[in-house]
């Protein structure tokens, strides 16, 4: 059983976080909330998302799985305006999710979850950690997009640095410790990432909201932030690009 009522922003947030990586997800429903974990088809990035029952206005559920086509679900949610209350109900007989927005009733066919994988979160030791406001980093990422298809992130004892190098142009963003919410590193860590993936990972976080980043040397990056008014949490992993020589 799954029966819930929630503000459309919460559902849109889930879609923004998930749809750049995967077209289809297996949503795990439990009495305490919903969660999902998915890896993109190229196995470069992983998203892990959990939204507590408290994020919903009403929530009643037993343990179950819903297979959702994110493009389709995104299309349905675009019918809603911000502030709209959306009700979700699983119809077992027809295997559909009944989505109600105001007087609109939209029944969405679900995907068979039988063949969908349960990716495991790799166990990484990432020595450097920073917490910063979304606005501080998003400008640097946007600038890098115009210059290259990959960027380097470096965390040292006193600052965080983002840099991108193209054939003729370069971008550099250096944030000293006092501009960051938190910096925790004893030595220098540097890894290279695809801008395409990375920019999608920080895009859902806006303005003053904090993003937690953990990196190592030529290791995946871990990006974490809260959604749904802190009643939901997102963890991304992104594999690095490797420089040879």
């Amino acid at each position: 059983m799954f029966n819930a009522k929630v503000k459309s922003e919460v559902l849109k947030g889930i879609i923004d976080v998930t749809s750049p990586l995967v077209n289809e997800v297996k949503l795990n429903i439990s009495p305490k909330g919903i969660s999902l974990r998915a890896v993109d088809p190229a196995h470069v990035a992983m998203v892990d998302l959990a939204v507590k029952d408290k994020a919903f206005e009403e929530y009643k559920a037993t343990d179950m799985e819903l297979g959702i086509d994110m493009d389709k679900f995104g299309g349905i949610m675009r019918l809603s305006s911000s502030g709209d209350m959306v009700s979700l109900e699983y119809d077992e007989e027809t295997n559909r999710l009944i989505v109600k927005i105001g007087n609109l009733v939209r029944k969405m066919g679900l995907i068979d979850t039988a063949g969908m994988p349960d990716p495991k979160m790799p166990n990484l030791s990432l020595p450097a950690k920073i917490v910063l406001k979304a606005s501080e980093i998003s400008q640097g990422v946007r600038a890098s997009e115009a210059v290259s298809d990959h960027l380097a992130l470096t965390v040292s004892k006193d600052n965080f640095e983002l840099s991108a190098e193209g054939d003729t142009d370069t971008v550099n963003l250096k944030l000293p410790k006092d501009l960051l919410v938190e910096l925790n590193a004893t030595s220098k860590s540097r890894s290279l990432f695809s801008i395409d993936y990375f920019s999608n990972m920080i895009k859902p976080v806006k303005g003053e909201d904090p993003i937690t980043i953990q990196i190592g040397n030529d290791n995946p990056i871990k990006v974490e932030f809260d959604i749904a008014e802190k009643k939901g949490h997102v963890t991304y992993l992104l594999a690095p690009r490797i420089e040879s020589e």
Binding site: E24, H43, A45, R241
Partner: protein
């Protein structure tokens, strides 16, 4: 998500395409297999009579029509083409238009075996190694792979009978002609090198010009012929050249643990 429909009639095929393809054509790859006729007007005019073919509409609008044999598509439309479908006289009709240069293709299906709609993600770029230019670049960067003291002075030097891959001088200032082959050296490469060497001899008015054939492998028969003509050879390893940085996958890290 992949959807398909087997042996649909024209109107069912149209319904299927409208449901799965038309709503988001830029995200859907559509594959049609059927008996069709193709009329093309654009840079030229072509007409292809009835026959069973595979038609693919890629996510960027490109249309490819393949006959059951041969590598190349028999008809195609470039990236950015717009495709529309309709039904007339119980036949499915595909019209693809491209603005500049103006090109129009009309495909009429009198029967369909399969229609598939899917959405594919692929961000990888093709990396090709083992091109002749890779070997040439390697020799330019490190002439010592041929012999110590060799200096390369020109790449792609024109002579009467063609173009020399690499031209240079050895440590005794003797002109050296280098011909590079990407795979096994054959007899015709020997004749090519011999002609180049003769051309250079005339051009520089120098009786002593060396010719070296470079290839990953030079068979004994070719070596024998080269010796007969007073030419040399060098077997050069072909290295797979990877780009200076490339994308790792999470799998590699998961396995480390």
């Amino acid at each position: 998500m992949t959807y398909d429909i087997l042996k649909p009639n024209a109107s069912d095929a149209l319904k299927f395409i409208e449901k799965y393809h038309k709503s988001k054509a830029d995200k859907t790859l559509l594959l049609l297999i059927g008996d069709c006729m193709i009329d093309y007007r654009g840079r030229a005019r072509s007409f292809l009579d009835w026959g069973e073919r595979v038609i693919m509409i890629k996510q960027d609008g490109a249309v490819l029509v393949h006959q059951p044999i041969m590598r190349e598509p028999v008809n195609w439309q470039p990236t950015g083409s717009k495709t529309d479908f309709s039904v007339k006289d119980e036949q499915l009709i595909l019209r693809s238009r491209h603005k500049s240069p103006p090109e129009k293709m009309k495909i009429t299906f009198r029967s369909l075996q399969l229609v598939t709609a899917t959405s594919l993600r692929d961000k990888a770029k093709l990396i090709i190694a083992g091109m002749e230019t890779d070997v040439v670049n390697e020799i330019i960067n490190n002439p010592d792979v041929i012999e110590g003291g060799l200096r390369i002075s020109k790449r792609e030097k024109h002579v009467k009978s063609g173009m020399i891959d690499l031209f240079g001088y050895d440590q005794n200032h003797v002109p050296v002609v280098i011909e590079v082959k990407r795979s096994i050296a054959n007899i015709s490469a020997v004749h090519q090198l011999r002609m180049y060497v003769n051309d250079v001899k005339k051009d520089v008015d120098e009786a002593n010009v060396r010719g070296i054939l470079c290839a990953p492998r030079v068979p004994d028969m070719v070596k024998k012929l080269l010796s007969d003509y007073g030419l040399e050879w060098q077997e050069v390893e072909r290295r797979v050249v990877l780009p200076d940085d490339y994308q790792k996958t999470l799998k590699e890290f998961a396995l480390q643990q």
